[in-house]
């Protein structure tokens, strides 16, 4: 039996967070979640060995998704990151600059997200 892969999902919008985490749980991933950047960074520190992939919203109060991408890519460069946003071109280009692996615009199709996750995890 193969080990379940672990995904950290970060979004300050509880509805989006619940939708993504429930969907990915059904797809047999182990899910960690955070509704703000500071909690996300703490989880990254304690669970750095376990996390296989991160999905993060970009525009959040306090620590933005762009900050999380920059920090994670600096400290744990092997963890792929999917950035999701509904705030237009500026956060998107900053996320790409911070080396997010994929930037997706909200709203998106969950099966499309699943395909992207599989590709990124296969490529690890």
């Amino acid at each position: 039996m193969t080990k379940q892969q672990t995904i950290l999902v970060i979004d300050d919008n509880e509805d989006v967070l619940t939708t993504i985490t429930q969907f990915l749980s059904q797809k047999n991933f182990t899910i960690l979640s955070a509704s703000n950047g500071l909690d996300a960074l703490k989880i990254c520190e304690t669970e750095k060995e376990a996390i296989d992939l991160i999905i993060t919203d970009l525009v959040m109060p306090s620590i933005s998704g762009v900050a999380i991408i920059s920090i994670v890519k600096e400290k744990y460069p092997n963890i792929p990151i999917v950035a999701i946003t509904g705030w237009g071109e500026h956060p998107e280009s900053l996320a790409a600059e911070a080396k997010a692996d994929i930037v997706m615009e909200k709203p998106f199709d969950l099966s499309h997200l699943h395909n992207i996750i599989k590709k990124l995890l296969d490529g690890k």
Binding site: G37, L38, L41, K42, P61, S62, I63, S64, V66, A67, S70, I71, E74, H90, P91, L94
Partner: protein, 349 residues
């Protein structure tokens, strides 16, 4: 030595925790909060906990200088760049190389200068005035504002692209009235500080009644106002008298007016006519105790009240354009900035 971030409230604990997690990242940060909440203290704490702490911490107040002067302060200039530029001057970006550039009142920076700042943040390079050569800079930008930059974007006064580039991390410091539990440790800290500064004074901690009074007060000028009150009392008399005075202090002599608690909006902006309302109603028992009477003090309070309402009125009418407001009020720009700070005039949120 850096001033520590004093407080036991959840919000201050959270800021302390956040500083630990982001101080080593060098990512752009915007610190927001009302005047006097301690934005510079947070900036210095970030710097102190960062690997840059042995390099310079350079502060620029973007509201204190006219546009052209701010540009030359930030980027420097070559000899002969303009009339009077007799020698080359290094800008703050150059001086802060490998350290921190703290841009206070970033919301007051002009639109053209915002474009230049954006260029530095994007490219890590800038050209001093009069130079065609770009200079590389590795500067950690920490900006602060008491404006809501999101509103400034909507009104066309702040660039959206610069906002997102600066706002990688945002630290909001709540006003003191929202975290009264921080007042006792702040009082203790400043008493200790002032005791060591004025070693001929014996400063005692306020008793519990006086502390309750301090905690119930709304502190429109936040920690800066608390510092001023502690210093003022230190000069006026010893702590026994101070605590008595605090307990008996008539509300009307407290160093503020209710208009500064809430944000002045067009609907709530005081009319100039209101300024002529009496400071006390001598007939309803709200007047100061006889031994607290001082005509000089009353004159100052009255003048402050009228000036504050006039300035608030003009600032509101000019959309907080300080330059225009100073011209209308026929005072210098610098005097206006001083009065805004001195009279605890809070910008709209």
């Amino acid at each position: 030595m850096v001033i520590p971030l004093i407080g036991v409230s959840q919000s201050i604990e959270r800021i302390r925790e956040l500083i630990k997690h982001v101080a080593d990242t060098g990512l752009n940060i915007v610190i927001t909060g009302e005047s006097g909440v301690g934005k510079e203290v947070v900036a210095q704490n970030l710097y102190y906990h960062s690997p840059r702490k042995t390099k310079p911490f350079v502060k620029v107040n973007c509201a204190a200088l006219p546009d052209g002067l701010l540009e030359s302060e930030l980027f420097g200039f070559e000899r002969g760049a303009f009339t009077g530029a007799e020698r080359k001057k290094r800008g703050k970006f150059e001086l802060a190389h490998q350290g921190v550039l703290f841009l206070d009142e970033i919301g007051d920076m002009s639109f053209p200068l915002q474009a230049k700042l954006l260029h530095v943040l994007q490219s890590g390079e800038f050209a001093p005035l009069g130079s065609e050569k770009e200079v590389k800079t590795d500067t950690w930008i920490i900006a602060a504002t008491n404006n809501e930059l999101e509103k400034n974007i909507k009104t066309g006064n702040f660039r959206e692209d610069l906002y997102y580039r600066l706002n990688i991390i945002k630290i909001f410091i709540p006003p003191l009235r929202k975290r009264p539990e921080d007042i006792p440790p702040l009082v203790d800290y400043y008493i200790e500080q002032y005791t060591s500064q004025f070693d001929n004074k014996q400063l005692l901690r306020p008793n519990s009644q006086a502390m309750d009074r301090l905690m119930a007060y709304h502190w429109p000028g936040n920690i800066r106002e608390l510092q001023n009150i502690l210093k003022r009392f230190l000069v006026i008399c010893d702590w026994d008298e101070i605590t008595d005075e605090l307990i008996n202090r008539p509300v009307s002599l407290v160093d503020t007016t209710p208009t500064s608690i809430t944000t002045p909006s067009p609907a709530s902006t005081p009319s100039l006519a209101e300024a002529s309302e009496p400071l006390f109603d001598f007939n309803d028992g709200n007047a100061p105790e006889l031994d607290a009477f001082s005509l000089k003090e009353i004159r100052k309070k009255a003048l402050d009240k009228v000036e504050k309402q006039a300035i608030e009125y003009v600032l509101d009418k000019t959309g907080w354009n300080r330059s225009k407001a100073s011209k209308i009020l026929k005072i210098s720009y610098k005097t206006l900035l001083y009065k805004i700070s001195d009279l605890n005039i809070i910008p709209p949120r």
